[in-house]
Amino acid sequence: MNKLLKQLLPIIGILVLIPVVMAIFSVNTIPAKEERAKAAWADVQSQYQRRADLIPNLVATVSGYAQQEKDVLVAVTQARASATQIKVDLSTLTDPAAFEKYRAAQDQLSGVLGRLLAISENYPDLKSNQNFLTLQSQLEGTENRIGVARRDFNEAVRVYNTELRTFPGVIWAATIYGSSKPMQLFEAATTAQEAPKVEFPSTAPPSDKTP
């Protein structure tokens, strides 16, 4: 019995030491992941800013050809104004209400902007205008970058939030990094969730995105 205990002793020592070693090596993980999430957030904001900067030019170009679409043009201008009026800083990231307000305003702008671009399909002169084509491609590119930046941000936040709640990060979160709070994520746009879905009973298995 005594011999068995003696043989087990190093193993128990290892079992105790491994978590301790893990915890010591992860002391910098929370600030590192927090900084990465903040950088991803800065990227999201700069892409939104780029979009906001493009809009006045677009509105001016479209209104030259499609004066009768005043409603949409006014809606875009207003949505842009309310989106840019919202003050955001790093505290927005940990405040669900403020974050949701920001997201909603930007998504609202995306919606009316999409409508404006869809309407311009009805104006052949506008569609062949070089300035409009340039603006359109810039806006499309920016929307696409916003999508990528938002996904990268979500991923960075997910990693950071997980670190706060799992071992060994949870130890540091409860002690020296008490001020580090979980951040908010961009949820899928509400319009995407509202898409009507008609389902028929089927014997075939649902197709997978990644075969």
Partner: protein, 251 residues
């Protein structure tokens, strides 16, 4: 007894590895990066492919920018924008940190085409310019069913733009701006550090108890496992990243 110890330790280390590996997001599967022209959809004649490869190699030799032309048999239900930046990141096209990579993606079956521009080249190859190249050089041929001709015309325009010396100063300034700080230890290197620490601890325990255990060499075995299968591809990405810049078209 030492068998048991090895087993205990093995399962523990496995849990450790699980804890640090991040769950991957759902992503499409990508073709292998077999060269500067990856013709998965098989729409480029071999001779044209060789010519293009040689010119793309020349572009990298003179500008260190990596341009890869890829035809995709299936986008697997993804939008080409979604697919494109993930493909660019998976392959790591372009120089690391400078992100000077470009993908010219053609998906003939979905009738989609895209120029995917790495972060570092976005000032040189803007969204608007990418769009103009697609609209004026590429899409007319694609609409006529001349897929290979459209690809060559697009490659010509891209190589020409990327070789322009006048833009190099601007590009360099921008690349410095986007270069993101110092390298931080990633999870793999932390894992290795952890293993080495465990190794040392095991050695100490062995020395104190006066017992040599065969698990002493176990971490070394684990380290060696990751090092198999040296790729022999003459061409590979250099670690560049992508953020959705560029333009797409459909025909």
């Amino acid at each position: 007894m030492s068998m048991l110890a090895a087993r205990w330790f093995g399962s523990l280390a496995f849990g450790f590895a699980l804890a640090i590996s991040l769950p991957a997001e759902a992503a499409p599967t990508f073709p292998a990066l077999t060269g500067r022209v990856v013709d998965q959809a098989d729409v480029i004649p071999a001779q044209v492919e060789n010519e293009l490869s040689a010119r793309l190699e020349g572009l990298e030799a003179s500008t260190s920018r990596q341009l890869v032309i890829v035809t995709i048999a299936s986008l697997q239900g993804y939008e080409i924008e979604d697919y494109g930046y993930q493909l660019g990141r998976a392959w790591g096209i372009g120089e690391a940190r400078k992100d000077t990579g470009i993908l010219f993606i053609v998906a003939p079956n979905e009738r989609r085409v895209r120029i995917e521009v790495g972060y570092g080249l976005q000032p040189v190859l803007t969204d608007a310019l990418s769009n103009a190249i697609l609209r004026e050089e590429v899409l007319p041929s694609l609409r006529d069913g001349e897929t290979a001709a459209g690809i060559v015309a697009g490659a010509d325009a891209l190589i020409e733009q990327l070789s322009l010396p006048a833009d190099e100063a601007l590009a360099r300034a921008r690349a410095v701006e986007t270069a993101s700080g110092e390298a931080k230890p990633d999870s793999l290197s932390l894992f290795i550090i952890g293993l080495v620490a465990v190794w040392i601890v095991l050695g100490l325990i062995g020395a104190i108890t006066g017992r040599r255990t065969d698990i002493w060499f176990w971490p070394l075995f684990f380290l060696m496992r990751g090092r198999r299968g040296g790729e022999k591809d003459p061409f590979r990405g250099r670690g560049g990243s992508f953020g959705g810049g560029g333009a797409s078209g459909r025909w």
